[in-house]
Amino acid sequence: MATRLKPVDAVTIGVGLTGSLAALELAKAGLKIVGLERGAARFTVPDFQSPPIHDELRFSIRKAMMQDNTKVAVTFRNDSNETALPIRRWESFLPGQGLGGSFVHWNGQSFRAQVADFIYKTHLEKRYGKKFLEACGPELIFQDWGVTYDELEPHFDRFEYLCGVSGTAGNIKGKIQPGGNPFEAPRAREYPNPALKEPYFGAIFRKGAESLGYHPYPQPSSNLSRPYTNPEGLSLQRCVFCGFCERYACEHFAKASPQTVILPALLNRPNYELRTNCEVLRINLDSTRRKATGVTYVDGAGNEFEQPAELVLITAFPLNNVRTLLLSGIGEPYDPRTGKGVVGRCYTYQTTGGPTVFMDESVNVNPFMSSGAPGTMIDDFGGDNFDHSGLDFVGGQYVGSIMTNGRPIEFHPTPPGTPTWGLEWKKAVARHYNHTILIQQHGTSTASRLNYLDLDPTYKDAWGQPLLRMTFDFPDNDIRMSQYIANKVVAIGRAMGGKTVVRGGTRKPYSTTFYQSTHNAGGAVMGDDPTTSAVNRYMQSWDVPNVFSLGASAFPQNITYNYSITIGALTYWALDAIKNQYLKAPGPLVQK
């Protein structure tokens, strides 16, 4: 029997990027808030200090910072004729667990989405026509987000200044800036900090890309280039290029994370209470099923509680946002046979995989000396930055040399034909370790009627609730897109002076057994039409207006770029509406 607790104004399910950011905004507005986090509390000091934080076996291989999948896994299959099995080892994607969530172990790669991303359907139909899109694949789904880039720009700006993003602007108020990305959406002002220093591999990529007429620029980074105090009064230090960023927490106060840029301004407020080791089982609804009454959770000792709340914010990892909606019976679950229903619909991922460039022994790359976002990039193939007329796909990828580490267990590139073990393998590793440059292709994932999330009929979690089931494979459109760009990028590898260039590109079938991206998106998408979106343009549930589902679960299709900055901007956008509209007159912010 659950113990009923004193009601509060708002509860967040998860205390990561969206959970801490939303709570800070509401706490400033005077609300009494409880943050429920299923993982443990953890802070830069003492939890992230070296040498323990540089334990590659513990963090990279055994995934110490990730969701405990002995308790709650995700099941996976490529198509709906197969039986899904639980993912027992996180490899393809790495959902975080613990205070700060995945925004602790992220790399700090800090892009904005583009103008066209938010009006994807409108933009593509206007430029290429409906027939073109139909030819790309009848199973594909294109949707607008219900919010435009111009509406989000102030929130992008605010979030970048919160994080202290280090970069070089490419477009300030429509004026193209030297040194930046000429394809980026117009920004109101320069980044808060200058770009990181360019590593040697980036300089080589820059030269190669420039020689082919492309437009290299420094990757925007939330690993800082200099000490910085953000508008919340919290200070960050500069990145020392230690090479332990993604999958790790920053020991230097140099990477934006809830611990560095949000939580210290939140945890000292008397109207905020953090409860860690608390697993939320469901959102409770009243008898009308149109109003949430709060949440039920289990604490670390196994005791069940009911926490009544006027406002429930689902602020978990995108996959867990969708699962929470499904477990709570909020919104109509998607049915792939009829195409009806919205929760679980439009699950998307990210197309990744670029070439490996093996250099001469005279080129010392020093990959161990790196930050999480040290790259030199080109956006010439990003999104819809190039004309797709005459091609057989939509979408695109950014391309860049982004080597985040040279860690000994994970990084040992060898050219094709090398044995995978033994003396010859060791010799090849020694030969190539310091003379190999990786190029990343990273891009759009188109939504498809065939790809979705639902509750698994067989497998349950430690509390007896169904696991989330993922049904996903890359649409052929996305494979054609990635392979087209792979052909172009091979030429960059050669222009860089590569002795051997191993072609990259995404391939089918999608496999969960090797790392690709932690940018799982969609499943509770935002939009203007309640028949094709689970939440409205403010990420408010169409069906239960005092529930908001914040984060990348709201993306109708996935964008070219690493998505954290766009999530931050969307969170500020939603909280702006909650503070200025919803709290004054609780109810639907958009009429059905």
């Binding site: 830069t44 070296s50 230090q237 020392v240 020991e251």
Partner: protein, 235 residues
């Protein structure tokens, strides 16, 4: 760390080259020239009289243990890269000290590299130390190994290596360094007089209280690497 464009492989090449096995030019190394420790030993012992440079040994001792007052840093076993860079910074005016600046200016680039190579090699004894209060030591140990969340301070060992052993070539050891020297340098960074490293140290020093500085200095003075215990002059 970006200020230290030395790489591990090129150093390996240099070692082989110094044995005359390979005539490889050190094309990739952007460091100062590789010094000769034997020539450096002469500079340490006798100085360069014609350039008005006194013997290093007068203050730093021939063994690199310095004189025990803590006014002069221990040099023994510090990386040649680091020592060479500090001398170059003194010579170029980036780091400033009434005694060291004219000395470094008097030495040529080759002599600076030589003497750096010499002091990197020697294993000077650790001189006897006065006891410190255990509260001071514990606070220093806390800052060194763990840091202080309330001040936004990471542990010293993050960069200076486990137990302050250093992360050569760029980052100096602190273990066994004289407390008064450590405290003095932290105060120099704090007040903007020392600026020859990345801004990391100034940022950190500004967050340390006077008590914190004394604690860190007292702690590192007492710490030894396992392989250095034998170098203690009194057990």
């Amino acid at each position: 760390m970006t200020a230290a464009p030395v790489n591990r492989l090129s150093l390996a090449v240099v070692v082989i080259g110094s044995f005359g096995l390979l005539g490889i030019a050190i094309a990739a190394a952007q460091t100062s020239p590789q010094g000769d420790p034997n020539r450096g030993a002469v500079v340490a012992a006798q100085g360069v009289p014609k350039a008005g440079v006194p013997a290093c040994a007068q203050c730093h001792a021939y063994t690199g243990s310095s004189d025990g007052s803590g006014a002069f840093p221990r040099l023994a076993g510090q990386s040649a890269y680091y020592l060479g860079k500090e001398l170059a910074d003194y010579a170029g005016g980036v780091r400033s000290n009434a005694i060291m600046t004219p000395i470094a200016k008097g030495l040529g680039a080759t002599e600076r590299a030589d003497v750096a190579a010499y002091y990197a090699e020697v294993k000077g004894p650790f001189l006897p130390l006065a006891d410190v209060s255990s509260a001071l030591f514990k606070r220093g140990e806390q800052l060194a190994k763990v840091g202080d969340e309330s001040k936004g301070l990471q542990s010293c060992d993050n960069c200076h290596g486990p137990g302050g052993a250093g992360q050569p070539p760029a980052i100096p050891y602190l273990a066994g360094q004289y407390g008064p020297y450590i405290a003095m340098q932290l105060r120099m960074w704090q007040r903007g007089y020392r600026r020859n490293s990345d801004d990391a140290m100034a940022y950190i020093a500004k967050r340390l209280s006077d008590g914190d500085i004394d604690a860190v200095a007292a702690y590192f003075q007492q710490v030894r690497r396992a392989d250095q215990l034998a170098q203690d002059s009194r057990k």
